[in-house]
């Protein structure tokens, strides 16, 4: 930064730091967003439930020792259920209730068809998973019994089971983990947008509104230096907001019990500097884009409206990544914001550098910053800058 741009930068920082409302608007997200995320993590930590065995409450348990043994072999805990009627809701710490006839043992001996009722609660992902595990195991027990009956009658079981299919889950991460990681990335990506919003509007649209732009432009300073100084100021707020969001998140996450997070975080001495390296050019790019928007408008209010609309870009892009990652082409992950999320995601959740995404992200940030800054400086030369709202 040259001397003239530094004079602008110094004044802008001093000016903005004295606006308490602006500071609150700038840093509230960085301080509260990660805390909110930490709370969400605490509330959604299903790992404990996910890690424990599925529990089935079985009515007339004494009638079905074979079924119990089969279920326990499949790592399902079976407890007795007291009652003949199906429950209105599942008992505590139970994933399903199986109701079998009181004469289950006799019916089994007679080789009759046994009608049972399985009650599950599919209102949560855990409920769905555990319920299906129990359902599948009972079905498998049924097939096992059928096989025994056929063998006893001299028929090979293979006659009625032409297919023996094993299912393997190839998804890299669970839905919860995918949503959580996407939300975390969205939080980090949103931080520079929110961090620079108020100051970017104030420094150009606000300057026009206050009629101070004319005095500034009458000084022996080039529009380029004015914009560079202002860009440095907005970038300072954007970077500070982003790093603060990252730090607050790390602090918040330290309160979540180890091993209960649905996602693995590789935030260590080798990845954090790379994350920062990735985020700084991105924050500067966002600052440059916000200044470009701010210079198009005449008043603070008008600027806020447009820059608020600009905020939807990272939000929608993040949702696209969270909910549509498997459906969009891999080349789409080289577009702005998606490429940052992809690169940061690789660093944060895998501890790996995705060189192509990182390089693309930094290149987009550098080129984008230059383009926005050039157009903003060009616009500052325009006579319309002398008109206030």
């Amino acid at each position: 930064m040259n001397r003239m741009a530094f004079i602008i930068y110094k004044k802008e920082i001093m000016d903005m730091m004295r606006d308490r409302r602006m500071l609150i608007a700038t840093f509230s997200f960085a301080l509260l967003g990660p805390v909110f995320m930490g709370i969400v993590f605490l509330l959604t930590q299903d790992n404990e439930a996910e890690a424990r065995q599925a529990r089935l409450a079985l009515a007339h348990i004494e009638q079905a020792p074979g079924l119990v043994a089969f279920l326990e072999k499949a790592e399902i805990t079976v407890v007795a259920y007291d009652g003949d009627e199906g429950p209105e809701k599942l008992p505590e710490n139970v994933d399903a209730v199986l109701s079998i006839p009181a004469d289950y043992g006799k019916m089994l001996e007679d080789g009759r068809v046994i009608t049972g009722h399985l009650f599950v609660d599919e209102s949560s992902k855990i409920g769905i998973d555990k319920g299906r595990q129990i359902d599948r195991t009972i079905e498998a027990y049924g097939s096992y019994l059928a096989g025994l009956r056929l063998t006893a009658r001299g028929v090979p079981p293979a006659v009625v089971t032409p297919f023996a299919i094993s299912k393997y889950d190839l998804s890299i991460e669970s839905f919860v983990a995918q949503t959580m990681s996407g939300m975390f990335l969205m939080l980090i990506i949103m931080a520079p947008f929110i961090g620079g919003l108020a100051v970017a509007v104030d420094t150009l649209a606000g300057e026009r509104e206050r009629h101070s732009m004319q005095s500034l432009l009458a000084q022996p300073i080039s529009p380029r230096d004015v914009i560079l100084g202002k860009l440095a100021m907005v970038s300072t707020f954007s970077i500070a907001s982003t790093l603060l969001a990252l730090s607050t998140f790390l602090l918040a996450i330290s309160f979540v019990p180890v091993g209960t997070l649905p996602i693995a975080l590789h935030l260590n001495i080798s990845t954090v500097p790379l994350i920062v390296l990735q985020l700084i050019p991105f924050a500067i790019l966002i600052a440059a884009a916000q200044l470009f928007i701010s210079i198009q408008v005449k008043s603070f209010k008008e600027g806020q409206s447009y820059i608020s609309m600009f905020m939807m870009v990272p939000m929608f892009t993040a949702y696209l990544k969270i909910f549509g990652a498997g459906k969009i082409s891999s080349s789409a992950f080289y577009f702005p914001i998606l490429v940052e999320m992809e690169s940061l995601g690789s660093l944060i959740f895998k501890g790996e550098i995705s060189a192509s995404h990182m390089a693309t992200s930094i290149a987009i940030a550098l080129v984008g910053t230059m383009v926005f800054t050039r157009f903003t400086a060009k616009k500052l030369e325009s006579e319309v800058m002398l008109d206030a709202a």
């Binding site: 004295r18 005095s215 009458a218 300073i221 002398l386």
Partner: protein, 247 residues
């Protein structure tokens, strides 16, 4: 010295300045006198390097403003039509910011602030944020900002608007001091008494052109009227009639 040669400026279909030429000499107070919308602000903005003219030239101490706006601006002190202060900065911070852009720093900067503060009698507001300043206090800051770096040429756009008598007298004294110190002072106004009391040279404007140009006494004599106000009405009226005939 400021020389304006045949400048013209249009905003879309509106021709704000048509063919404007005049000269503002050093050690003189030159006033652009014209009604609202006559092109005074446009002319002063062209001199300040804030807008590009459609034709003609502006020279500030021989520097072509269109070719080297920053060099010209370094020789100008601008008092714009809006004070445009930074309300979260104190007067001292405000002045330091603008002075630094003119190359002042350290002890020189501090001395320049002290000097202008004494000259404008503004010690009471020097370390106060400019938010909530009265019109007179705001004028002082804007004037201090324009003269702090001791520019050879000072351009003021209607500097007395909204000021009380005491502040007008203070401003008048400052402008006379600048003139005495050899500065070229160029201002715009439509207040006849102020123009008559202050100006060495008056450039009368109407509809974007110069309709008469000379000392207040010369203009009164030219119009054959008793005072400058009557002379202004006659001379600008003649211009309007000429415009109508041409149309």
């Amino acid at each position: 010295m400021i020389i304006v040669k045949n400048i013209a400026k249009a905003y879309g279909a509106v021709q704000a300045v048509k063919d404007m030429s005049f000269q503002a000499d050093d050690a003189k107070i030159t006033t652009l006198l014209g009604a609202n919308g006559s092109g005074k602000t446009t002319t002063l903005r062209a001199i300040s390097g804030l807008l590009k003219t459609d034709g003609g030239n502006v020279l500030v101490d021989g520097i072509n403003v269109a070719e080297s706006p920053m060099k010209a601006q370094a020789r100008l002190g601008i008092f714009p039509d809006s004070f445009g202060l930074y309300t979260r900065l104190t007067t001292r911070e405000h002045l330091a910011f603008f002075a630094e852009m003119h190359g002042l720093s350290g002890a020189r900067l501090a001395a320049a602030i002290d000097e202008v503060c004494e000259k404008l009698n503004m010690a009471d507001i020097l370390d106060r944020r400019t938010e909530g300043f009265s019109q007179g206090q705001r004028m002082k800051v804007a004037l201090a900002r324009a003269i702090l770096h001791k520019p050879a040429n000072i351009v003021l756009d209607e500097p007395t608007r909204g000021l009380d008598v005491m502040n007008i007298r203070l401003l008048r004294r400052i402008l006379l001091d600048l003139k005495a110190a050899g500065h070229c002072v160029l201002l715009s106004s439509h207040v006849m008494a102020e123009v008559e009391a202050l100006s060495d040279h008056v450039v009368m404007m109407a509809d974007g052109v110069v309709c008469a140009d000379g000392s207040p006494a010369e203009l009164v004599a030219l119009a054959g009227q008793a005072n400058l106000e009557e002379a202004f009405v006659v001379l600008t009226g003649q211009q309007a009639a000429a415009e109508r005939n041409a149309a």
